[in-house]
Subunit: 358 residues, 2 copies
């Protein structure tokens, strides 16, 4: 990979962040004009968005845009950046649904507002205030995402081309999220179901649809390009989700910003867990029930479950699947419908999505 | 009012409901193609939307549309109907935040999914499943609202005109909702703050912005028309919210679909409560603390608080304010910027919004 292209992705990320900052500054001012009581809202969303984040979805949108020979301007940068606000909604609501205390090493939004309630000695029940704030801040992030996209300054044609993809992506996201919470309520794990969740929550939402949105914004969007980007994006998206599953069990808390073994404590029915379960003896399965999904799971319990995932071979198999899926994605980059200038971006992003440690 | 115009509003409501039904049928089919596990989602949202509802926001949009000489077609009907999906999001999330068990005489969405969890003997914690389902069904309703608006078949000009109003309305809604939950945490009631919440939650969201959206869809949208509709919509919206406040305390459960005195049990800091509080003696205020906002508030406690609201004169004062505000709205209808043919619609809707018993 040329260092020129690598620095190009870094500069795109920087431009995305600058547009987010400008949008959030304007919107915070707007809220403050309604009432100064809204300042904790804008402060929390701004910090949530700007303090950290990989900006993966805007970067995939940029790669799709470059695949269609798009030349970046402020309007298209803003449209891509809006995906970060949608992701903020997904994460804020996700943490609330999972009861997660932390996100990116900081308190999750519902915990943050719960703490404000206690610190400021407000009336009522602090967890209910935290819940309500998280529901509304997620909703507001979702609405701001639309507003940022709609007011980006795109041409009417760009807007009319991109919006149907954007809408379908969001329906797929919510469908994937519901299947995910529903999966946690099932008596038995099921690899097919877990794979479908990975496909909708990540394959489509994180990678394929952002690529398509970027392509739709470019001037050379063709059915062949859309198809080629799906051939790249869908397997890569699944690989991305499987990496997430592995990090949720084996990730280093100092890098992930989440406690060690967090997915084990939450009892998340991921593809990794379904694969482990399918390879377990009945005795192991019995043993795992003592630890999996227990709120008070400690380091010893985590280590026992981790050993099980390794000794059944599930971890290794998932790593192999990630490699295979990434390989399929890499092959798809050679499709002639994709502009040559975009290939190094797609290659680099495939590595970032699957080799990451956070 | 001519019976011809009255039946016109009834037929518009019917057309709005038919478009909602068609949209929901198509979207339910789409979800079902992803997974049959999503059928409780589409069933619940469809029933929530189609079993009842006054369709006030689409009807106000229609009145704004008629004010600008708009002639109704399928595309504009769909755009107006999309407001019902947005309202579904607001109500589903509102019930979750308030911990309300019922909506329109049926279980609220979080309670409905909690019950499904128990009935189907699912794994995990039923209330957490109910919470997650309510978060996601609200999010999906919000996304479907956009999708219905964006895919309504409007001309590009109509879409570009209406979307900025739609986006601003949704930001105002979320801001109003946050101010509302924040108000419940304050040590003291404050009439000015409660009035501002009424303005954002209802004045703008329920009435002014739907009118503006309708006007933007029409062919005669002018700054004068927008201004005239604000002069009508803002006072009427406040009157609408105050009627809601009164129904939350004095409403007949068989009509409201909510338990008697629900707002008293939830301890809602409405304008009505702020006005009562300002007129109370210290002894009465002391007495009210025994009942107001108590989960186990019974009929006797409700009657004591109701008496207080009546004896301080707060109820009567709020009724007078509703009359005054409605009068201001009625006067604004005479503005020449408003097409004559729309005036009877605006008059009828003003009565529906303020004289209702549910």
């Amino acid at each position: 990979m040329s260092s020129e292209n690598q620095s190009r992705l870094v500069s795109v990320r920087h431009e995305v962040e600058e547009e987010l900052r400008a949008f959030l500054t304007r919107q915070s001012h707007y809220l403050n004009q309604i009432s100064s009581d809204l300042s904790p809202v804008s402060t929390a969303i701004t910090s949530f968005l700007l303090d950290s984040g990989k900006r993966l979805r805007p970067l995939f949108a940029f790669a799709g845009f470059a695949s269609g020979k798009g030349v970046l301007d402020k309007a298209s940068t803003r449209a891509m950046a809006s995906l970060e606000l949608l992701q903020a909604c997904a994460l804020i609501h996700d943490d609330l649904m999972d009861g997660s205390d932390t996100r990116r090493g900081k308190p999750s939004i519902h915990r943050h507002f719960e703490t404000l309630h206690i610190q400021d000695e407000l009336e009522g029940f602090a967890p209910q205030y935290g819940l309500s704030a998280a529901v509304l801040l997620g909703d507001l992030s979702l609405v701001w995402a639309d507003q940022m996209l709609n007011s980006a300054g795109l041409t009417p044609k760009q807007l009319l081309d991109v919006v149907p993809i954007y809408d379908e992506m969001r329906v797929e996201l919510m469908a994937g999220q519901f299947l995910d919470i529903h999966e946690q309520t099932q008596k038995h794990t099921d690899l097919d179901r877990s794979m479908k969740i990975a496909r909708y929550k990540s394959g489509k939402y994180t990678i394929e649809r952002p690529l398509h949105m970027g392509a739709a914004l470019s001037s050379h969007s063709t059915p062949e390009l859309m198809h080629a980007l799906s051939e790249y994006g869908l397997p890569l998206g699944e690989a991305f989700q499987f990496r997430d599953d592995l990090l949720g069990v084996f990730g280093d808390p100092s890098l992930t910003g989440k406690p060690a073994g967090d997915d084990l404590r939450e009892g998340k029915r991921t593809a990794l867990i379904a694969m482990t379960d399918a390879r377990c003896s009945e005795a192991m399965r019995e043993e795992s029930r003592k630890y999996f999904g227990k709120n008070d799971l400690d380091d010893k319990g985590i280590a026992i479950l981790q050993d099980m995932i390794i000794s059944t071979g599930a971890k290794e198999e998932l790593e192999t699947m990630i490699d295979d899926l990434t390989g399929r994605a890499m092959n798809a980059i050679e499709n002639p419908a994709i502009d040559e200038g975009a290939r190094t971006f797609l290659t680099e992003l495939a590595l970032i999505a699957t080799k990451r440690s956070k």
